[in-house]
Symmetry: C2
DNA sequence: ATTTACGTTGAATATTATTTCAATGAATAT
DNA sequence: ATATTCATTGAAATAATATTCAACGTAAAT
């Protein structure tokens, strides 16, 4: 038998997982507390015993996600194209092997567009933005040494990151589908 | 002065545009009738004079979108890689020059995930699915004649279409941002 | 065994969103 | 000019959703 403490933690985790899954499949607004409670096999009342509100629950997910992803995502200190290669490979690896992380990846992106969310949530999300901003000088450098194709560096960064985002979303939503290769995405940048 | 008839059509269009913009930026569930009415400078009451419900309004958008996109999207009858090139170019051209179409493109994709939508909506959306399915044999063919890189054809199709989707979404949401080149996306497939 | 703490439920309440409607006035028709 | 139609509004009714709470039961503590 499990202790009450463990029971409680398990339940809390179950709520988080159920909510995460629903949030990325249906969106925040279309996900009702009733849906989450049902997915986690409990009454709505009990859910509120664990989280004080729907927004608070959402906020906890964002927080977990931003911490988890912050760890994973940073440019390795190599030549520009290699840095993109390694990073893309790491991200693919992460979302391919860890469904929770894959869903988080999607949640973080979606959260972005959500206005009506308190400011502290938005601050947590700024990390991902920074990654794209930091890509631009790296791309310029790569273009100068001939590793990365010519073209507007910002447009290249947009292409790379949003392609990655689109594919990650698909993987998160279709865990059983065959996985693209990180190299294929790198081809967007490669000369 | 405009006739009543024209006035009415303009207003109807304004509602559709406002709703489309909000739906893709916030999602269906988070977009309130009040938001749409405000964006279109009218009372909620009047909005219901034009559309009998929020879902009906959404449905009209999906219908317009599925008709518009059906026209644009089909594989030209050439060698496989060229077919992808032309199609990607057409889509990029469409979403780059026509903000309404770009938003539609995003709406159609999002609509997909929305359960709780009546069946007739889902039928309208099947076209886009077919496009990905139809890609697979084309990719296999391209691999045989050495135009397209090796790898799981379904995974390649997933990579290509979702990369395109991710980028299209960004363009729709950031109309002023620099535009990636369709060729860059083709690089995902090219040998 | 009894008590205490607290996890759990379902129903009650509060809040928010959608939809209806009676009343107003402006454009069109007569 | 007058009547008629119909676009428009704001407020009221309805419906959906989130949140609270009193009551119950089970596990832990004494």
């Amino acid at each position: 038998m499990v202790s009450r403490q463990e029971q409680k933690e398990q339940r809390r985790l179950l709520i988080l997982q159920s909510a995460l899954d629903l949030f990325i499949r249906k969106g925040y607004g279309e996900t009702k507390i009733a849906d989450i409670a049902k997915a986690a096999n409990m009454s709505m009342g009990l859910l509120f015993h664990y989280f004080e509100s729907k927004e608070a629950l959402y906020k906890v997910l964002i927080q977990i996600g931003s911490e988890k992803l912050k760890m994973e995502m940073s440019f390795p200190d190599t030549s520009p194209l290699t840095a993109f290669e390694i990073l893309a490979q790491d991200i693919f690896q992460l979302i391919s092997t860890n469904p929770f992380a894959a869903k988080m990846f999607v949640l973080m992106e979606n959260a972005h567009h959500l206005e009506a969310m308190s400011t502290d949530i938005k601050e947590m999300l700024s990390e991902a933005d920074k990654l794209m901003e930091k890509s631009i000088p790296l791309i310029e450098e790569g273009q100068q040494i001939g590793e990365i194709r010519q073209g507007n560096p910002e447009a290249l960064a947009i292409a790379f990151w949003n392609a990655l985002q689109g594919i990650a979303q698909y993987i998160a939503l279709h865990p059983e589908a065959p996985r693209p290769d990180a190299q294929w995405i790198i081809a967007i940048l490669k000369k």
